[in-house]
Amino acid sequence: MSFRARMMTPLLVVFVAAIGYPLISSFVLSLTNYRITRRDETKFVAFAQYKDVLQDHAYWSALAVTGTFIVFAVALELSIGLMIALALQNQRRFRDFSRSFLLSPMFVTPIAVGLMFRFLLNQQLGAIPAILEKVGITYDFFGPGRAIYSMVIIDVWQWTPFMVLLLLAGLESLSKQPFEAAKVDGASPFYTFRRVTVPMLAPILTVAVLIRSLDASKVFEYVYAITRGGPGTETQTIQYFTYQTGIQFFRLGKASAMSYLLLIMVISLVILLFKRIEKARLAS
């Protein structure tokens, strides 16, 4: 065995044990009708679970809910995050304090954030409904047509700092010369932003959107702590639906098939995105 191969061995062992085994094990489960409470009836069913999942309206509905959540949450986080990052880049005093203060929400565990907002937005105990009521506004944060957007706001509160962190690092790494040239040429700040900042920041923006989208697709804690998927199925995200199927209802075979289908979709999207980035890079 070569020196390079030997040096890679520990990593490969950890990779196989930590990622390979669960992946293979869950794939095998997805080919069976395994249920924790019916272990005696377990049999190989090939891709029947996959067929069942693909024909399940609830699965597609949960995917749509998750997609809506990702689009709105990531779009808001990107817009707000970019504005804050631009502001912080020009900040002269108390830089360290304001940056660490702004980043604090992302260090709170998501389940605690879910519980915190469950009480903050609670009609009986919450500070926000109480303040709104004082100015004559009654708003049901978890009512039909609204609950999913309340979840988006919670996610924006927690994860915009992550976007700020990435974009600020990106902004500070950009070469100063194009900005100086634009200034000399008399370009307005908005023109400079549109024609210089955004194109130069594009690779970082893409990576930031990709990371946040993947992370947002895992949304579970807010749903579990606040709405349990309601009203109706309006906040039933794919992770919560898979959790219910596999853990709450014991159908581990079906839940594994659900997870694998999601994995295939996510990996396909990521590959497509990277291919487009590469194509754009080569074209430029």
Binding site: T37, N122, P144, T227, P231, G232, E234, F250
Partner: protein, 433 residues
């Protein structure tokens, strides 16, 4: 050859003698099933680990352990209180382990069918039948039925989750309303009691279990039932439609604003803080609300419990059970049979626990310490005419599916007809899997 034969004969004799000895020992075991007159030996020993929900009833059981140990000094019961959401996953893991983490279990009623059919629980028929003075039939019949699966007893009732109507006597009296006896009367009372400062009734339409649990009472009040005579779920019926239409109308006209996500805690808070006049809740909430230093403060003493209009209500329960892989089942049964005996039940209910036996309801020593004779008489009526939301397999999934459809109809996302049709279809599909 001869030596071999002789050796085989000796071996066979030893084996037969051994078997005779083992069977003799087991027949003299304290827990053997004889004609219901076997006393459990006070020398029964072992450490019994049990996972329980972190609720006041668990604290009451903990408080009785010293009394239990006066009778069984060699049994050490170790109770681990935990949040409800974590109980099921932990005990299911223990059920499947060669070396279990828990030797005794408490089982929520939707889990009973699945756990019994999976072989996770030990049948208790012989132990129940063999224990002296146990009087199993003294438990309320609907509660007993929850612990019985396919003709075998897997659980012994621990405490009940029977629902009832809790209302403010002063508010009903000042509005000139008598205790509602029909669903229409309940709706009319809620509407009349509804004011700008106080809702007529605090409801619990949260998606899943809560929506189904509360609405189930309305279904019974409308003359409907969850299962038909053929054993299939029947929710797409005129009675179910009347029940759901009434529920939605009450939610819109008489429930607190923006309470679509409310469950038990929110409804209790609303009633105890004078924000709602009535609620459908667990019968054992009445003594808590009427307690002088309880959550209702100055309103204590103004609450009364009634059966649901029509007389029938939804029932839940926790049952004691012994895992099939428990290595100290003798000690576990010694504890279960003591805590659920008439003596143990009286001590538990006197300390504030929810009753499961009928005889305890008329025990003067109990009614003097709890909610009073009138309260226990109503509890008796509740426990005598009640039914769980689900029977058989896949109950958690079935309840969640029905509760999701009901919540969608209450939220206005679906029509009553389509929600009930979908609920019936899904429930039957889930239970047939």
């Amino acid at each position: 050859m001869r030596t071999m034969k002789a050796r085989k004969s000796v071996m066979a004799l030893i084996a037969v003698a051994g078997l005779v000895l083992i069977s003799a020992c087991s027949s003299s075991s304290p827990n053997a099933s004889t004609a219901g007159n076997t006393k459990i030996s006070a020398d029964t020993a072992g450490t019994v680990r049990v996972l329980m929900e972190g609720v006041p009833d668990t604290d009451i059981v903990k408080g009785l352990l010293a009394k239990f140990n006066e009778k069984y000094p060699k049994i050490d019961v170790k109770i681990e209180p935990i949040a409800y959401d974590q109980i099921r996953d932990k005990i299911v893991a223990s059920f499947q382990a060669t070396d279990p983490t828990y030797d005794m279990a408490i089982i929520d009623n939707p889990w009973m069918g699945d756990f019994a059919k999976a072989g996770f629980l030990k049948p208790l028929d012989d132990l129940i039948a063999g224990t002296a003075d146990y009087d199993y039939n003294d438990f309320s019949a609907p509660l007993r039925a929850i612990g019985e699966v396919d003709g075998k007893k897997y659980g012994v009732p621990f405490y009940n989750y029977g629902l009832g109507l809790i209302y403010r006597t002063d508010l009903l009296a000042s509005a000139g309303i008598t205790e509602p006896k029909t669903l229409d009367e309940l709706a009319a009372a809620a509407k009349k009691l509804n004011t700008a400062a106080r809702a007529g009734i605090a409801m619990q339409p949260q998606r899943g279990y809560k929506a189904f649990e509360e609405w189930g009472n309305y279904l019974f009040a409308a003359g409907g039932s969850i299962y038909g005579t053929d054993g299939l779920v029947k929710l797409n019926t005129p009675e179910a439609k009347k029940a759901l239409n009434t529920y939605i109308a009450m939610y819109k006209s008489s429930a607190p604003k923006n309470s679509l996500n409310w469950a038990f805690d929110e409804a209790l808070r609303s009633v105890s803080s004078d924000k709602s006049a009535m609620m459908v809740s667990y019968n054992w909430m009445l003594p808590t609300l009427n307690k002088k230093d309880g959550p209702a403060g100055a309103l204590a003493g103004k609450f009364k419990l009634a059966t649901m209009p029509g007389g029938k209500q939804v029932l839940g329960s926790w049952d004691w059970a012994i895992p099939a892989n428990s290595k100290v089942s003798d000690a576990a049964w010694a504890f279960i049979s003591w805590i659920t005996s008439k003596e143990g039940e009286a001590a538990r209910v006197s300390a504030g626990g929810a009753p499961a036996r009928i005889s305890v309801l008329t025990d003067p020593a109990v009614s003097n310490t709890g909610g009073g004779a009138e309260y226990y008489a109503t509890v008796g009526k509740i426990l005598g005419n009640a039914e769980p939301l689900c029977k058989g397999a896949n109950c958690d999934e079935m309840i969640n599916a029905v509760g999701t459809e009901l919540n969608a109809a209450i939220a206005g996302l679906k029509s009553v007809d389509s929600a009930l049709a979908a609920a019936e279809e899904q429930a039957n599909k889930i239970q047939s899997k």
